[in-house]
């Protein structure tokens, strides 16, 4: 410290930086701060060993604008987090992960959330530093030996000379009226620079530029083709000692990497032990009734119609007459074609529902099996709809109610 002071003295008399008042308790400081605030000074500050409640009101300090900065940064972070994932997963490099859509919002939330927090934290720290004019490597008060007690048990108030209202006589009188322990002049520090060292700034710029090099390298690599084998940065991840699905594995007799399930294994919900429901059989004969799980309702009929129109109508026709679009096209091509059955033929009308169900499930003649494509209850719904179609062409007076019959006459 004394060395610095010697250098300062050699440099000649320094201009006045401001007036410093010293107090020994926070109450006195707050009282003084109110006076200075009311006198209308702008460039002044207080210094205390610990935070004092209410000092910002006593000093007339506005609420900080930092939250708004943080909020805007948070929104940018959120947008960037979403955009980053959209660009990488859904646009530039689509990669199917466990059957999920390329772009599905739940997967994006954690990273978008983290980016929001990250940007907020950076904005809060950076904004705090900027709003407080930090970092400040040197301050004229550093030269005041008494000022060291600000970290211990003394409270200070400094009015800077650059303030428009500053007047050596008036300001001194104002501070004296606050009854400080001591009132002292603070001189400018003409030796220590209060600027951030150039070397540090250049280092940061170079480091910042250097941190972009890997990204530039990645971008360059993506734009070029290379004949060389790929680089394996992490060997035990790229070459794992395991057998993958559908590969050969010499450890087993059958050379399969995948093990077959134990005989008789049934997947969850795939137990098909109800003969009536799944095979249309009751005992040794075709079922003549619908299984217990199938409700004979209009809703089921509607499902049956929808499924019929999708799976059956292309060949059998919408009305079941065996005149679907596929059939018509095959006829015009004339290359030999076994026409699909007209569902209104007598033998089909008399067939038990179980047999119809079986035909749909396993196919018949050159009609393919639809069991793998259509759920069992939907197949039953189709059977029900086919029965309704058949009935519509083979109804008699007996199907009408008394009232309807008399209406006809």
């Amino acid at each position: 410290m004394s060395d610095t002071q010697a250098i300062q003295a050699e440099a000649g008399p320094a201009p006045l930086h401001g007036l410093l008042a010293e107090y020994d308790n926070p109450t006195a400081l707050v009282r003084a701060a109110k006076k200075v605030r009311d006198a209308g000074y702008a460039h002044w500050d207080t210094f205390t060993p610990f935070p004092i409640h209410g000092i910002e009101r006593a000093m007339g300090i506005r609420m900080t604008r930092l939250p708004w900065l943080v909020f805007v940064a948070a929104l940018i972070g959120l947008a960037n987090g979403v955009l980053l994932q959209f660009l990488t997963n859904a646009w530039d490099y689509k990669w199917l992960v466990s059957g999920k859509p390329f772009w599905s919002w739940p997967a994006n939330v954690p990273i978008a959330f983290e980016m929001t927090i990250l940007y907020s934290a950076f904005a809060a720290l950076g904004g705090m530093l900027i709003f407080n004019n930090l970092p400040l490597p040197a301050h004229p008060l550093d030269l005041k030996e008494r000022f060291a007690r600000v970290t211990d048990d003394r409270f200070f108030l400094l009015i800077e000379a650059r303030d428009g209202k500053f007047d050596e006589v008036d300001t001194r009188r104002l501070l004296e009226s606050t009854e400080p322990l001591l009132l002292d002049e603070v001189l400018e520090d003409r030796v220590t620079s209060d600027k951030i060292p150039r070397a540090l700034i250049y280092t940061l710029i170079v480091a910042g530029a250097a941190s972009l090099v890997p990204f530039a390298a990645f971008t360059a690599a993506r734009a070029r083709h290379s004949e060389k084998p790929r680089i394996h940065a992490i060997w035990d991840m790229d070459f794992q000692p395991k057998f993958k699905a559908q590969r050969a594995n010499p450890l087993f007799d059958d050379n399969r990497a995948m093990r077959k399930p134990v005989a008789g294994t049934v997947a969850t919900g795939a137990l098909r032990d109800d003969d009536h429901m799944y095979r249309g059989r009751v005992g040794d004969a075709w079922a003549t009734t619908y299984p217990a799980g199938v409700q004979v309702t209009e809703e089921t009929l509607r499902v049956g119609r929808d499924k019929y129109n999708v799976f059956c109508a292309p060949c059998h026709g919408f009305a079941g007459e065996g005149d679907g679009m596929v059939h018509k096209r095959a006829e015009t091509l004339g290359q030999g074609w076994v026409p699909p059955s007209n569902l209104h033929q007598e033998y089909l009308r008399l067939q038990p529902v179980g047999e119809l169900f079986n035909s749909i499930t396993n196919g018949v003649r050159n009609m393919p099996a639809y069991g793998p494509q259509i759920e069992p209850d939907d197949r039953w719904a189709i059977v029900m709809y086919v029965r309704a179609l058949q009935r519509s062409r083979a109804s008699g007076l007996g199907d009408l109610s008394e009232a309807e019959r008399s209406g006809l006459k």
């Binding site: 409640h53 209410g54 910002e56 466990s98 059957g99 739940p106 939330v109 954690p110 969850t268 919900g269």
Partner: protein, 416 residues
């Protein structure tokens, strides 16, 4: 032991231990009026719920009542957690409002009684709420056979006794010790409550988790989510801070605690409300995302029920009304420091927390979201009974822990 040092610290903390507090700290006649009204509303509400819900054992009543019960329980359980937390960390800011928290926690004694309409029918073999009560149902699913050792009525009843016994015991302990200090001014009581708090906190975490699993998660006996207890807990924290804000505003409007409880206390309560809307979302989303990602049928069906078809708009509404709306609504400092806007926020959170409970319970009964009249009757009923019970107890105690060694720090507390 560091005991003597600890005690000395506390005396140093207080400065003015046992000072006379210049404020109204006893409820007057207005409390009798509120007690009668609340009790009346409570009884009428419950009776209406039974009638409208089709009787005590009817599915509709049982579901409506469970929704209301879990809503009410979250206030008391949240309050016990809050009081324990204040002792655990030796909080100073909250001493001026702690008695209100202690009184709210004391409502757990009432909640023990109010659990009977759920537990007793179950004990008698009624499976209108919990399908796992029926043996046929438990035998129908292979998965459930493994759970039978836990999901059976007798063990359920034993667990209920543990939960409500523990909560009522601790709630009464914290209130009684605090009230005893009002008379004796014995600062060692503060130290004793501080020592009781860590184990209470651990016990609370376990009991609340299992309680949420038993009462809410087991509505769907196949489904499971390990974070479910935390999900319910987040609602408890929201509920208790909202309830405390409303209770304090009512007290101050009646002329009590007007000098002791300042805008700084409201601000801090508001901050907790704000923070825990985000916490709720964090937990709710964590639960959802892991299940969505893993895509395992026995986990996804619970969400499938709520995300497909008629329940989807209701689920979307919950997500929006429980997160962005209160989050941005409570974000501003001005809103938290203004009693009117903070009260609005508190009422809003209590309502939306009920909707959250409804969203957990009702899909168990209805294929689409229908608000039954019994839902509201039970809600108002449980709410009324809690208010009546808390006011009834509050009449006989101080509204401020007058001789707490940290009280002066709380009275002078300021947010920077």
């Amino acid at each position: 032991m560091a005991q003597p040092k600890h005690k000395k610290d506390m005396v140093a903390d207080s400065g003015h231990a046992g000072d006379y507090v210049d404020d109204s700290i006893r409820l007057g006649d207005e409390a009798n009026g509120l007690f009668r009204i609340a009790a009346g509303i409570g009884v009428v509400g419950i009776v209406l719920a039974v009638v409208l819900g089709g009787g005590l054992t009817h599915q509709q009543f049982q579901h409506s009542y469970l929704t209301a019960f879990m809503w009410g329980l979250s206030i008391g359980a949240g309050a016990l957690w809050w009081v324990t937390l204040q002792h655990l960390v030796g909080a100073r800011w909250s001493v001026a409002v702690r008695r209100v928290g202690e009184l709210l926690a004391h409502s757990l004694v009432l909640m023990a009684l109010l659990s009977l309409p759920v537990v007793v029918p179950m004990l008698l073999g009624n499976d209108s709420l919990y399908r796992w009560v029926s043996h046929e149902y438990m035998a129908s699913e292979h998965v459930l056979e493994g759970k039978a050792g836990y999901l059976n009525v007798s063990f359920f009843a034993v667990r209920c006794v543990i939960y409500f016994g523990f909560w009522a015991l601790m709630a009464r302990y914290f209130l009684k010790a605090s009230v005893a200090q009002d008379k004796s001014g014995d600062t060692s009581l503060t130290a004793r409550m501080g020592r009781a708090s860590p184990l209470t906190m651990i016990g609370f975490a376990l009991t609340l988790t299992f309680c949420a699993v038993d009462f809410l998660m087991s509505l769907d006996a196949i489904w499971f989510s390990t974070i479910f207890g935390v999900y319910y807990f987040s609602g408890c924290v929201l509920a208790v801070h909202s309830a405390m804000v409303l209770a304090l505003i009512w007290l101050q409007r009646k002329g009590h605690l007007v000098r002791s409880v300042t805008v700084e206390h409201y601000h801090d309560l508001g901050k907790m409300m704000f923070a825990f809307t985000a916490f709720w979302t964090y937990i709710a989303f964590s639960q959802f995302m892991l299940i969505w990602y893993a895509n395992i049928p026995e986990e996804t069906h619970w969400y499938h029920m709520r995300l497909e078809g008629a329940w989807w708009p209701a689920t979307l509404a919950l997500a929006i009304l429980h997160f962005p709306v209160p989050f941005f609504g409570l974000m501003s400092r001005q809103i938290k420091r203004n009693k009117t806007t903070l009260a609005l926020g508190a009422v809003y959170l209590l309502v939306i927390h009920w909707y959250d409970m409804y969203w957990l319970v009702a899909p168990n009964l209805h294929k689409e979201p229908v608000f039954h009249a019994a839902d509201f009757a039970a809600w108002v009923g449980v709410g009324g009974l809690i208010v009546a019970f808390v006011v009834w107890k509050a009449r006989s105690v101080n509204l401020l822990p007058t001789k707490d060694p940290r009280l002066q720090r709380s009275l002078a507390f300021e947010n920077v």
